[in-house]
């Protein structure tokens, strides 16, 4: 369906003009700016301009103790705060050789996966909004609301949870949470079927995504794209499987991959992932051990042995890695946050060349960008 050949000579200087998509534009969901050199409706060059909400999180990391930096990790990618906190506490625990009680690890998995579902739901709604369908957004938020209620019940916060602690959890879950989560899992499945008939099978929607914005395996590798983007290109790369962390090896789940590499493939990966998240949550609830949720002997003043430590997790948008360089002080020497959205967006310039404007926006939506995640 995609028309590849522009009508006039593409990119001839007297034929092009520049339009700004962003930093205030309905398509960018945040303050991303894409400077697009256009030839008619064809994109000659689309250059993302980042940094509009740069907060220098890494400098903040050098100014405060490990425990004090922890709340910041919820605010990098505000849609999947749990996984980001997991990455940070994981790195610290790895360096301090802390052993996290199994109950805490299971609850981390449950809450991370709930958070992943909520993140994918927001993406789903916002993506449909990009494509001009408004109603699915509200249905997605209706479901997401239930997750937020559950997480608010145990963490006290709806978006920036700061729920994990170095060595365990802030608080144990209660029976209401477990009951509520089971109820949610049970009622999410029919909703997914409804989403499929309402959106996934819709001919207008399919026409807008199939074959649009193909990204090859090679391009993903060269740009370091991860998460649903690389899985949509047929590479089963998932940190949960490739570099297993926490208790993920104990669960039976599939890493959905699609070979096509187009926007539809990325869409389907995320939709299938929601179903897999539900499976993981169910298994984790079944296996949930009892016991403490906080490691014993977490030192009040935490000093990590000198050296550098990495920890990677699979966030909703891909691989999130933390590198802590310590010089045996209370305050880290350097905290590097490797965020998935930055790498995922960096391929946009190459991938969007010669595309039509609406197609490029469909491609951008399918990358699932969270701007603070890029700008940090």
């Amino acid at each position: 369906m995609i028309v590849k050949e522009p009508i006039s000579t593409p990119g001839a200087p007297n034929e092009t003009f520049v339009i700004n998509i962003g930093p205030q534009h309905p398509a960018t969901h945040g303050v991303l700016r894409v400077k697009m050199t256009m030839d008619g409706e064809y994109i000659v060059r689309a250059e993302p301009v980042c940094g509009y909400i740069h907060r220098m999180q890494e400098k903040m990391g050098e100014n405060r103790t490990y425990a004090q930096f922890l709340p910041n990790t919820s605010r990098i990618d505000y849609l999947s705060a749990m996984t980001y906190t997991h990455g940070f506490v994981g790195a610290v625990e790895r360096a301090a050789k802390l052993q996290v009680p199994p109950r805490a690890e299971y609850i981390r998995v449950i809450t991370s996966e709930l958070n992943r579902i909520s993140s994918h739901l927001v993406w789903w709604g916002a993506f449909l909004l990009d494509l001009g369908g408004f109603t699915p957004l509200l249905y997605a938020f209706d479901d997401r609301e239930k997750i937020l209620d559950l997480l608010e019940g145990i963490t006290g916060s709806r978006l920036t949870y700061s729920y994990y602690r170095i060595g365990g959890l802030y608080n144990d879950v209660d029976d209401d949470f477990i009951k509520g989560t089971r109820a949610f899992v049970a009622q999410m499945r029919p909703r997914l079927r409804m989403y499929r008939s309402l959106v996934t099978e819709n001919i207008i929607f399919r026409k807008r995504l199939i074959g649009i914005g193909p990204i090859s395996k090679e391009m993903c590798r060269k740009y370091g794209a991860t998460g649903p983007v690389i899985r949509g290109s047929g590479v089963p790369y998932d940190v949960r499987r490739v570099e297993p962390y926490s208790v993920y090896p104990e669960f039976d789940f599939i890493i959905p991959t699609f070979e096509e590499g187009d926007s539809m493939a990325r869409y389907l990966v995320r939709m299938e992932e929601i179903a897999q998240c539900l499976r993981i949550i169910e298994q984790a609830l079944d296996k949930l051990p009892s016991g403490p949720v906080m490691a014993e002997k977490v030192p009040r003043v935490l000093k990590l042995p000198a050296g550098d430590y990495c920890y990677a997790v699979e966030a909703a948008r891909g691989r999130f890695a933390v590198r802590i360089v310590s010089d045996n002080k209370e305050i880290p020497y350097r905290v590097k946050l490797r965020t998935p959205s930055l790498s995922n967006l960096s391929l946009f310039e190459e991938a969007s060349q010669g595309m039509l404007l609406p197609d490029a926006l469909a491609l951008m939506g399918s990358l699932d960008l969270v701007i603070p995640d890029i700008d940090r």
Binding site: G132, F205, R208, L356
Partner: protein
């Protein structure tokens, strides 16, 4: 006294006054409808999305359109620097007036049309093409890149959809043998099986014809899923980006007036106009019921589907709608020649 009123009515029934009266009524009707269709749209969107919609202004949010109008009117009309001032100001009016004029030939009930002219359909389509011009001029004159892209889109979209629309209407003119809308409605009297939509003995593809008409109507009025001109995730607000206050308000009202016109036309052409579905108790009420059902469908469609792709939209027109409508045209002429000559 009664005599005076009767005289007045008699006077008003004469042609020039009758036209004036109907125009005034029409203006009021369209204005009210445009305002309240916004309410219907918002309320409907709310219900489709499991939320109540506007509730705060007046009972059930019924005064919301008034509040909106006051807000729009109290805003400054800004003409962007470098814009073509005249065209920029004229464009909204150019969009509104054809819709108003076209409604003059719509037969709301038996003998209830401002002008019952023999070429009513022709007149509607003659005026119908003007609103394309209006959006194009609005987009062009506002000197904004989004608006210009939108202006280019609206032209190619409307050119593409004018053709199947006209082919369908020509089919209907052939089947009914007249361009007078009142006459077309008269022919459909006596139960819903006499409606053009169901007269498959004239043309077995009549429901398809209606569908094509409806799709073209959506595309011509730039309604979702064909709202390429104001695709907010791409073009912010398209041709209306630079319009503020009532400039935007008039565009907005004209959009709803056009929807109203399209639905009224669909009702008259296919759904038997003011004829009751059971053959008795015909009247204006039936026309309004059918028309508002179509309007509801338009809202319903808008809040269900994502926007089409632009080339998908043109493909749909050139590759599916035009061939099919040509086929129905040929089929009905053949049927006429063979069976109803």
């Amino acid at each position: 006294m009664t005599q005076a009123i009767a005289n007045l009515l008699k006077l008003l029934a004469t042609e020039p006054y009758r036209l004036l009266l109907f125009l005034v009524c029409m203006l009021a009707f369209v204005g009210l409808n445009a305002a309240y269709l916004v309410w219907v749209e918002r309320k409907g969107a709310g219900r489709f999305q499991r939320r109540p919609g506007p509730t705060e202004v007046g009972p059930a949010g019924l005064l919301q359109p008034v509040a909106d109008a006051v807000k729009l009117m109290s805003k400054q009309l800004i003409v962007p620097a470098g814009a073509d001032t005249t065209l920029f100001r004229v464009a909204p009016l150019l969009m509104m007036s054809p819709a108003l004029m076209s409604l003059a030939v719509i037969p709301w009930g038996q003998g209830l049309a401002a002008r019952n002219i023999n070429v009513g359909l022709l007149m509607i389509f003659a005026f119908g093409s003007i609103n394309v011009m209006a959006i194009m001029l609005g987009g062009w004159s506002s000197r904004n890149k989004y608006a210009i892209i939108s202006a280019a889109r609206v032209v190619s979209q409307n050119v593409a959809y004018e053709i199947p629309m006209l082919l369908v209407v020509i089919t209907m003119i052939m089947v009914t043998g007249t361009m007078n809308l009142s006459e077309i409605v008269q022919q459909q009297a006596g139960g819903f099986w006499h409606w053009n939509l169901f007269r498959v003995w004239l043309n077995p593809l009549m429901p398809v014809t209606f569908l094509i008409f409806f799709i073209c109507m959506l595309a011509e009025t730039n309604r979702a899923p064909f709202d390429m001109t104001e695709a907010e995730s791409e073009l912010v607000a398209g041709a209306y980006t630079e319009y503020a206050g009532m400039g935007f308000g008039v565009f907005f009202m004209a959009e709803y007036a056009n929807i109203l016109l399209g639905c009224a036309l669909g009702t008259a052409l296919f759904l038997g106009g003011w004829q009751s579905p059971f053959g008795v108790l015909s009247g204006v009420i039936w026309f309004l019921l059918k028309m508002y059902f179509l309007v509801f469908s338009v809202v319903w469609i808008r809040w269900t589907f994502p926007r089409t792709q632009f080339y998908g939209l043109l493909n749909l027109s050139w590759k599916i709608l035009i061939p099919v409508s040509l086929f129905t045209l040929v089929l009905s002429s053949a049927m006429m020649k063979l069976f109803h000559a």
